[in-house]
Symmetry: C2
Subunit: 424 residues, 2 copies
């Protein structure tokens, strides 16, 4: 086996010369050609090849490699003033594909993580129903279940960016989103079991945390695609995601997906609770606020390169990747620009295209080492196109916190370092 | 709010009377009707509603609820005689939907878990190629990536069952399978980069563990849908799944999905290594063995009820659920029987139907409390129908360990307890 190593030099320099020689675009990635001295990392036996590794007893429930210890949810100390820190962010720049692993799904709490004993948890349906009902978890699991992959995005995702480029990393600008497969019972089936009275037009889910989180949801949505979910990505919900049961409100803002769900009241009008009046409403320039802006519009962001994921390999073949989603359907198309919007390129999508689920896009190009202005622009299945931040500001002003789905710009310098910027 | 609790009794008994009264099948699950005394679990404030829970700093990488501590991979002490325990099983009976969380994906090692430093890891392509190549992980990530959900099943899954019903739980009879989304580079692109010579007809992936796991794969499969994958369910591969890089061989037996992938040799014929001669071949009655039985045929199993997941709720509406998969395509249909095959019912499928991926099925029925003989039978997109174990034995004898895709039977007694049985 030694013979083939003659003249093999797996250095970046060698590859870049090869790549610069310019074979077909998609077929050529970053391989080191067989030139120069052999690389001891491949010619010599590594420590892990020289003896038995750990057995299966080591981790009945597995964890990531110690080399991935930096891949974690992170908070921003100054962002919330609660007694306990109440928001962290999904490390989007470290992820690929369309799914978020459960351990990395961002959290947003209004009273911390309720630690609920599932045996003592109940779900009540009351209000304008023929028969008020109380379910145990075991009761719930006797109803027919469905499985769907949906994104959950906080209405405040990218909220700091209304005031201009603020947070230097897609984890912080766009990381209040996750995308998992939920298993749950259609809320419709539970409401039908209770029997909604003819004047029942709204439902109010209530959480079993100390905040008793509540929101008003029109009965049409409740009877359409909402799920009373108990599993995510196959296993039971994580505590910070509402264990043992949460509401899933596909395509709508995250705070409505009430966690630790304990009650669903049916009423004839909305309740105008705190989280739909003083919070989670969109304040305009004239001081008026728009309420009940539930749906999350089409949005996208380039996750790599990005401030936390610089280009480390120098010039040559470079993979640009990111995610896109829409609360109104699928994402048939994403455009990418590397010159701040002078020219746009249709990105390649890869992975299942599912309703109200995250989509993954890629754009591969040969970087010449000059500075870049990277942007992505999502098109959703209704024909809607993601706007610029300035287009949003022209209509909504700068008082908003919520529903910023504007195009994100990353400036990449000659060294491959990326920065959050805006271009006018 | 107290008024609605008057006369509310959320007991199992009350619900069962309600269910027995017999409303429409699918719409009715297991709700407790409003009768009798109120349930303090819903009328009284629970401890978790009375104060702040943990903040987001508690778990930068999250873990399951302590109440789910029993949901783990398990081994069977006597099953392998290795120095370190070398196989454990996915707790299928605790999962739902189609995805396996990374921490619960079964493991099978031939020399334990290699602990690879990704900075020192290399992937070589050599043999019958124009240009031998060595890639770093950074090099690999400059190639175009794809995302696909695929099942990985060990050829020996259900292997003990050739000798009759042996292991009492679907975790042990069928738990050498997992189903995740992989992100990786098509192997075809790497082979094209190296340039396969015209006499290059086979490839041999080699692992960087001490077993240096190797298998022969025909070039047609290598150029078709194989991936050199580095992510699973969004994040980097877990150590026990080949961190930082493994081969993905969709639909084919798990041992070919070489972990800790360090080398791919191109040759003009298969290598006939240990793991494709003395192991992973199918020994017939006449003493001859069939080699290169790569594809995993259509298979299914009911995951609940099952020996580890008995029916605890007594008579009435009962959810039967399970998983089905085929290495040859999708699963358009699964049949379920509760009477040992006298009558079959077409199950309801829920979740994305993807090529060479796990599918989830449900069958809901009103249990009268009499003993059950539960079976499921998968149909795949080629028209193939999952056989009985006796049909398999008639052709293959009982010397086999591998490729047992026969129909599984669970006997459920009057108390809802389930047992692994066979019916002739």
């Amino acid at each position: 086996m030694t013979e083939i190593f003659k003249g093999m030099k797996p250095s970046r320099r060698a590859f870049l010369r090869g790549a610069a020689a310019g074979a077909g675009a998609l077929a050529v990635g970053g391989a080191a050609k067989a030139q120069g001295a052999p690389d001891p990392a491949i010619t010599e036996l590594q420590p892990w090849m020289q003896g038995l590794g750990a057995g299966v007893d080591a981790a009945p429930y597995g964890t990531p490699s110690p080399y991935e210890a930096h891949v974690v949810r992170r908070n921003v100390e100054w962002l919330t003033a609660d007694t306990v820190s109440s928001v962290n962010f999904t490390p989007l720049h470290e992820l690929d594909g369309i799914l978020t692993p459960n351990g990395l799904c961002f959290e947003r709490h209004h009273a911390g993580v309720a630690e609920v004993d599932p045996a003592k948890h109940r779900i009540m349906i009351n209000g304008l129903v023929d028969t008020p009902l109380v379910f145990t978890m075991a009761d719930l699991m006797r109803f027919p279940r469905e499985n769907h992959v949906y994104f959950l995005e906080c209405a405040a995702n990218s909220g700091m960016e209304w005031a201009g480029a603020q947070l230097n990393g897609c984890q912080f600008t766009h990381g209040m989103i996750h995308n998992v497969m939920y298993t749950g019972v259609p809320l419709r089936l539970l409401l039908e079991e209770a029997g909604v009275k003819t004047n029942g037009k709204w439902v109010m889910p209530e959480g079993a945390d100390a905040a008793a989180m509540t929101r008003s949801i029109p009965i049409e949505k409740a009877m359409d695609d909402c799920l009373v979910a108990f599993k995510m990505n196959g296993e039971m919900l994580r505590p910070e995601q509402g264990y043992p049961v949460r509401l899933v409100v596909p395509g709508w803002e995250g705070n409505m997906w009430v966690k630790w769900l304990r009650r669903i009241e049916v009423g004839d009008e909305p309740w105008h609770h705190r989280e739909e009046t003083s919070k989670y409403t969109d304040l305009f320039e004239n001081g008026k606020a728009r309420r009940f802006t539930w749906e999350m519009d089409a949005k996208s962001v380039i996750t790599s390169p990005s401030p936390q994921a610089p280009i480390l390999h120098g010039r040559g073949h470079t993979v640009v990747t990111g995610v896109a989603w829409s609360g109104r359907g699928t994402i048939p198309r994403v455009d990418v620009t590397i010159d701040g919007g002078k020219t746009w390129h249709q990105a390649r999508m890869s992975g299942p295209s599912l309703e109200k689920s995250m989509h993954r896009f890629y754009y591969e190009f040969d970087w010449d080492g000059s500075p870049l202005l990277l942007q992505s622009r999502a098109h959703d299945s209704t024909g809607y196109v993601q706007p610029t931040k300035n287009e949003l500001r022209a209509i909504r002003g700068e008082n908003s916190i919520y529903h910023n789905n504007g195009i994100q710009t990353w400036y990449v310098n000659e060294r491959g370092e990326a920065e959050n910027v805006e271009i006018s």
